[in-house]
Symmetry: D2
């Protein structure tokens, strides 16, 4: 029997992607949609300016949107997917956890909190055990799990595949799609025939989230990975798909061949949304490319290519679909992991 | 009295920009236009598919195009601007030099030859003296001077401003405009809603040309700069303007403030096409941007911004107009330097 | 048992789409792939620069490409899909027909020939009977069927739905995607931040093909529709999906409501690739839009919207996916019609 | 001595263009800049998010912005340029006129009012005499003159050149740049790889404003032109430059040659911003194009091309720079006309 789920911030860009992924999902059943006060009481059809490239599923369009409040969500909902602006997430997510809901959140608030697991299932599923610490400390019946930022998710799986070589230094330059900023985040006059070498707070997210994701949980505490990371982030005129240039220096020798093998053999999980292979490595030097490769593995795969030696270690490029693997799909996958691990 | 000049490859994309810059230039007078055999004998108007955003100057349109052969160029022409595919350049440029012409070339052939000066006037004007070595060795009456690749020109002036701090390691990621590949170089289906993380031979150009440009000429030999450079090159959907993310590690401490001051105070030259300031440093973290800033200094300035400290030294972004400062304008400026130094 | 089919021009842009559609098709089995002499003898993987957004099917990648010659195609192939440059099509298609193959062709040659059926199955399936005339006249065992140009296919189904009102005058302005020109047809420098108000021969195709498609076949001869059509064609920076603005003046009164009902109730066919509904009519005035709506009905539906009264009759907009419904899918659908009608 | 002028809505997209055009203008001197209450009291540098591709002039950057109120504008200002949202324009412009200011406005409010001249100087300068009627009726010391909408300005001059042939029916399809919607008007996710066949109220503006512009003022009343116009408007991914496809049916025979001659010989005016020729007619069938031709005549020329006969009269394409000729430059030109006619 499917787990009944709710979507917080259901009318937003990631909220729409969540609905697109959850509606046909056999393990989940959408039972609640929340949005801002002004949308509450309207049907989803009325409340949402639907922009995803498949029509609104009929039953979803007719559901009534509620306010984003635990009291307005039916009691038989067990799992909450949250994709809210971080300030709103910080305000309302704890209330849902106190009220007993398991929350799989894409919002950026609390990602770096010591007792909040930040999880990419294929990378650090064991961090989920932090929830015991979280419940002890916060006295929650529910729980709060986060997925990382879209640009972080793009390169961390490739680094995870290389940890055995001893990660030391990572430089990363990003070429990010406009959808990462939300529907209204980048105006057309800002970006057509242009690029913007700055995305507020983004560089910090890549640098800190990556070290937490690749850290070790000893049962009581999470110790961050000791590698040093420096990111430079750019917005470019693509719709979907973040492309990243990575240099990684490792303790042990690392050839492009060994790196390709480590990436290609890096295991996926036996979860519905985890693609196999997780990392697709291209031989062609001009791949991956956003428009060509963002839908690999239904948008859940990581693509890598251009592996080469440089004076500063290995250089390669990687790519992921930022609103699927990097946001909505990341939350859904964490939901599947929570189900697998008995939290639901 | 104006120096009479010829343009080799006058119908190509850079050739058109050369004409646009040379036609109003008070020190130069266009006296010869060459192109492939099939264009020879036609008027320029007939031969060129003009694509620059100002009309063909009338007198130029009526000039007759000749083959790219020293015998077809009038004897009273002194200076040749060359923008040919490198294989053609390698074949025909030596013949012009032997025939006594001074050649300022944008073609990539011979850029790394030991006796060919590769020059950005504001950076290494003194390398021009290599021409004495060149004439001795080759027995030419003429001479061959090269300007670097467009993506090299974009970041080298900013590094030149920092040499006093002792350059050690440079990582650079580029976001390059489609015009850098020539008019037919990138199809629309390749690049709309996309990015390509590979440009053939480009990374090598940034890595080797930069070390030559910042090297020292001791009167007999050119010693390359000892810094190590690694480049990762990307094509993005912009028309003009290469944007680059740079990390530089130096021997001495280098704060963003000191770097900004060094860049802003880096001298321009008293040549007509050299902008003042040479390097424009933005305080706004989201600048420079291609569409907004590529025309600074009539397309001849370098823009920089986003200076910040990282675990790996200084990080910043820089930008230049790739077909003006990075190609046609670079050749014209070298022509002005040759004139200033008595070669014409 | 599946019909064995061959694809002429299999490495081209439409050829690749044909393979993408045919490979999973239960009624057809790809048994031959042809291309130019230089590709013959290589595997398809080697010969094609694959650019479709799903990987090359494994078995297809390993097939050996042959020259485009009936002698090189296995005898047990019954149906040929052709997508060749029109000059090549004009040269080789008749040979295949003589050799007994049924050819469903997207190439523009012979579309207006009096004995060649030009068919959109949902619009004029009865024109297929022209093949009897064709075989009589040409003495072929095989047969040649054409689908119209992509921009013609976009608006003709909507006109077909309105024929009962008496079509008199049609003005149509097109906003066409770059893929319609083939992979190398439009350079990025031509179209980024630009539009081109001209596509060679395109206007004529809309004007003449539409009148043939909506004409009447009396068993012996095809009488063209008497409406007058004037087209103005533009290329814009979209990847896929032709959008068209149409004004239609009719003999009888035609309200937007009546037109919408006629379009929505216009029947699809019981063929695998014919979508139901054929024409999707939007209420939202700002639809259809290329990126949002081109994949309706797996890229085989026609989208319409913005229906309104004007001083010059009905005005509306329509859209179709130009490389699926407008090219590869159109040929496949004609193949299905040929199968249904006993030609295979 | 220069006329002192004020700019209402100086921080907006058109306001910035107005400053760019007025600052170097020898006949006008910027003496007042107004914006919303929240900007008042700040320097222009602080208040404006400057987005034009030339730096803010120094003196302008240091001016203090005031509220948009006649009491806050110095008394020695004579001419007001207004580019406000129409609801704001409707509210504040009459107050400026009452207070004695001459207002040249780009805002869409009151354009169709019977006593408000809607003027393109080269087309209907004589309509300026409507100001006598306006002053009589409204008792203003000041006066209100409007320029039309950007998409109207693009095609009306070409129609004006053809009036002698007797304009009867006009169909026009527009391909409009994103800057026409203001800086935040079109998001990148709406328009990259897309087109939108709808711009709110735009079609009505082309249809009604064109008939007023080409109407006749008999000294007392303005009689609209009797032609019928139907417009279909589209937004496409270009930054600047509206391209339009026009069909025009005339009473008298009109060949493409006669039309081209009428357009090319249509007179410009002896005003500083009026280009000569006003209309540039291209022979090349693929011109005009937005990126190539929008800066003709410093952005003030109209470009036309593709003239051909159709079953429905003459078909051609035209283009103008929407934020220069279509907005800021249009207002400045009306200011020059007001000066020439003794209103200042």
């Amino acid at each position: 029997m499917a787990v009944r789920v709710g979507v917080l911030g259901a009318t937003g860009a990631v909220g729409q992607r969540l609905i697109q992924l959850l509606e046909p999902h056999p393990e989940f059943e959408i039972a609640a949609l929340t949005a801002s006060e002004s949308s509450a009481g309207h049907t989803y059809q009325e409340a949402a300016k639907w922009r995803v490239d498949s029509p609104i599923p009929d039953e979803i369009g007719e559901m009534t949107v509620t306010a984003t409040d635990p009291d307005d969500v039916p009691d038989d909902v067990d799992l909450i997917f949250s994709s809210l602006p971080s300030s709103v997430g910080a305000e309302v997510e704890p209330g849902f956890c106190e009220a007993g809901y398991i929350v799989s959140s894409n919002s950026s608030n609390s990602r770096m909190a010591a007792d909040v697991p930040l999880v990419i299932p294929e990378v650090n599923a064991d961090h989920l055990d932090l929830l015991e610490v979280q419940r002890d400390e916060r006295g929650w019946d529910g729980a709060l799990v986060k997925n990382p930022n879209c640009s972080t998710i793009t390169f961390v799986p490739t680094l995870a595949a290389l940890t055995e070589f001893g990660l030391e230094k990572v430089h990363v330059s990003t070429l990010q799609a406009v959808s990462g900023a939300g529907y209204d985040g980048v105006t057309s006059m800002e970006i057509i025939d242009n690029a913007i070498p700055y995305i507020g707070s983004e560089e910090d997210k890549l640098e800190t989230e990556s070290r937490k994701l690749l850290g070790e949980f000893d049962g009581a505490e999470l110790n961050q990975n000791s590698m040093a990371v420096s990111a430079s982030c750019n917005r470019i005129p693509t719709i979907d798909g973040h492309l990243e240039n990575v240099w990684v220096e490792t303790e042990d020798d690392l050839t492009p061949e060994a790196a390709a093998e480590a990436m290609e053999s890096y295991p996926s999980l036996d979860l519905r949304s985890s693609p196999d292979p997780l990392i697709h490595v291209f031989d062609e030097p001009d791949r991956p490319q956003p428009r060509m490769d963002r839908t690999l593995g239904n948008g859940m795969a990581i693509a890598a290519g251009g592996l080469q030696e440089t004076p500063f270690g290995l250089q390669y490029n990687c790519l992921a679909h930022n609103t699927i693997r990097g946001a909505a799909g990341a939350s859904v996958l964490n939901g599947e992991l929570l189900l697998e691990n008995g939290y639901l």
